[in-house]
């Protein structure tokens, strides 16, 4: 009984420590003081001013860029990753298959900073101006491997003959893909997509090298630039709080919905 209590106390203590910084940001998002830590009375002024159009154009456009790039990149990564996973899964040549898997693992195992620097060098050597398109391509590069890894286990669970059967029964390859393979690997695609989206909106180290010099900012690079200038934009506090609460809500709901066996299934 006593051990049980100690164990629980330890977990709660760790959680409190982990969440303390976020709680402080949250609390101080309800006061208007410029410097964090000064309490100048309760106010929702920062929230209002965050959503006042025009007041924080740079911050809002950074947020918008982050969401757009996140959606586009994770959609592209899901499409590319799914097709590739099917392709890799069906490769007969063992060496080629191993080579593909190894290459697929490079962006996962590599440090983000190296991925960022190497892609930066790529665009510089090719003489391509960095901007929206190149940044999206960078995000596709580090998201696709995760989609491949999410879809692959589903393919392994599938009956390999169903695709051939569909073809024999007169389906075109694209029909067979849509009606036979896709329904069976959909859950893997969804996890791959969600993971890609989170990775993309969360990314800093790849983006910071590849936003280019045309003033394109994602939320991460904006916060970085802002913190370097000293004096953080106070409106970041409500922004961080909202992001935190939204992600917290999504993950808790997802977790409550996919309990027990469905959870172990999607964990793979």
């Amino acid at each position: 009984m006593k051990r049980n209590f100690l164990a629980k106390a330890y977990i709660w203590l760790l959680l409190i420590l982990l969440y303390a910084p976020m709680v402080i940001i949250g609390v101080f998002s309800f006061t208007e003081a410029k410097v964090l830590g000064n309490w100048t009375g309760f106010s929702v002024g920062l929230y209002k001013s965050l959503f006042t159009s025009g007041a924080h154009e740079a911050l809002m456009s950074a947020l918008l860029n982050t969401l757009i790039i996140g959606l586009v990149a994770s959609t592209l990564a899901t499409a590319l990753g799914t097709v590739s996973a099917i392709g890799i899964f069906n490769l007969r040549n063992k060496r080629f298959k191993a080579a593909m898997n190894t290459m697929n693992n490079i962006p996962i195992l590599n440090a983000d900073i190296i991925t960022g620097v190497s892609l930066f060098l790529l665009f510089v050597s090719l003489g391509v101006t960095q901007g929206y398109v190149t940044l999206t391509l960078c995000h596709v590069t580090f998201c696709t491997p995760y989609v491949v890894l999410s879809v692959m286990p589903r393919l392994k669970q599938m009956n390999p003959n169903t695709f051939e059967a569909a073809l024999d029964l007169g389906a075109t390859p694209s029909q067979a893909l849509r009606k036979v393979i896709l329904p069976q690997i959909k859950s893997g695609m969804v996890s791959g997509f969600l993971l890609s989206f989170i990775l993309s909106i969360d990314d800093f180290e790849v983006s910071v090298f590849n936003v280019g010099t045309n003033g394109l900012q994602t939320l991460s690079t904006f916060i970085y630039a802002d913190s370097r200038k000293g004096g953080l934009t106070p409106e970041l506090r409500p922004m961080i709080t909202i992001t935190f609460v939204v992600i917290l809500a999504i993950l808790i709901i997802m977790n409550l919905r996919t309990k027990t066996n469905t959870q172990t299934k999607t964990l793979k």
Binding site: A7, K8, Y10, I11, L14, L15, L18, P21, M22, I24, F28, G37, L80, S84, I86, G87, F89, N90, L91, R92, M100, N105, I106, P107, L109, A111, I113, I114, S118, F120, L121, L122, V124, L137, T141, T144, Y146, L149, S150, P173, L194, L195, I198, I201, D202, F204, V208, S220, S227, R228, L232, L236, I240, T243, F244, L251, I252, N255, L256, L267
Partner: protein, 264 residues
């Protein structure tokens, strides 16, 4: 036309676009890192960058210092994370999955937001920023990455081994050190992979947590690239890359390394 159709009818051909994509966006960039590392700013092959690295003590010292910080961070993460993963996996909580999720959520918050929140915490309790806050911030950022793989392994662990050890008369300490701990080592190794290298290569965390007073290896890579010293920056990246390859040789199980990818 028929041949093209036949080609795409074979599902193995569907890997070709990705092969081309990876050659351009994964392999070629890494080759360029090597290429730039051995090139002078004027063009042409040179070993000057390596000479600078060896002669100029700053980079070497930063690398060693970063490895030191990473070792401390990894050790603290294991010491704090292992018990947490152990407790969570032993289902003392009725709502264990929610508890696990609570530990993992910080992973999904933007790293800069997390770090700024830590800086805010230190400001709030009036702790000056320095090495101690750097280590705390690192632990705060990387602890979930240690807990997740250990938890995953512990949860899959076959309970009958533990029961067998108990039946054979081992006390709980012995069961833990002779059975549970050795069996959970793969999780610890993955955790180390996910904490150690990222600590060395990260730059924003160190910058924000020490007001840029303490530099880690990632910081000097970023500074060189940002200041147009691409060749020297490329060499530093290459050194980092070699370190990553070396540590990965110890970790054969690639699927474990992507444990974070398996959360959803």
């Amino acid at each position: 036309m028929g041949k093209i159709k036949q080609f795409f009818g074979r599902r193995s051909s569907w890997s070709i676009p990705y092969l081309i994509f990876m050659l351009i966006f994964v392999v070629l960039p890494l080759i360029l890192v090597v290429f730039y590392a051995f090139r002078s700013p004027q063009g042409g092959f040179t070993l000057d960058n390596i000479k600078t690295f060896i002669n100029e003590k700053e980079s070497v010292n930063t690398l060693l210092y970063s490895i030191g910080i990473a070792l401390i961070n990894t050790a603290i993460c294991i010491l704090l994370g292992y018990p947490a993963a152990y407790i969570l996996s032993s289902s003392r909580f009725s709502s264990s999955s929610v508890m696990v999720a609570l530990f993992l959520i910080p992973m999904f918050i933007n790293v800069l937001m997390r770090t700024l929140a830590t800086v805010a915490l230190f400001g709030f309790i009036h702790v000056p920023l320095g090495q101690a806050t750097l280590i705390f911030g690192m632990v705060y950022n990387y602890l979930p990455f240690m807990i997740l793989p250990i938890y995953t392994v512990l949860q899959k662990l076959d309970r009958s081994y533990i029961e067998a050890a108990q039946d054979l008369g081992a006390d709980s300490m012995r069961v833990f050190f002779r059975v549970t701990l050795p069996l959970s080592m793969p999780g610890v190794v993955s955790g180390i992979m996910m904490v150690f290298m990222p600590t060395i290569s990260t730059f924003a965390i160190a910058e924000l947590l020490t007001m840029n007073n303490i530099k880690l290896f990632g910081t000097i890579i970023q500074e060189n690239i940002n200041n147009g010293m691409w060749n020297y920056g490329a060499l530093l990246s290459l050194i980092m890359l070699i370190l990553i390859v070396l540590t990965n040789l110890f970790n054969e199980d690639k699927e474990e390394a992507s444990a974070a990818g398996g959360l959803i």
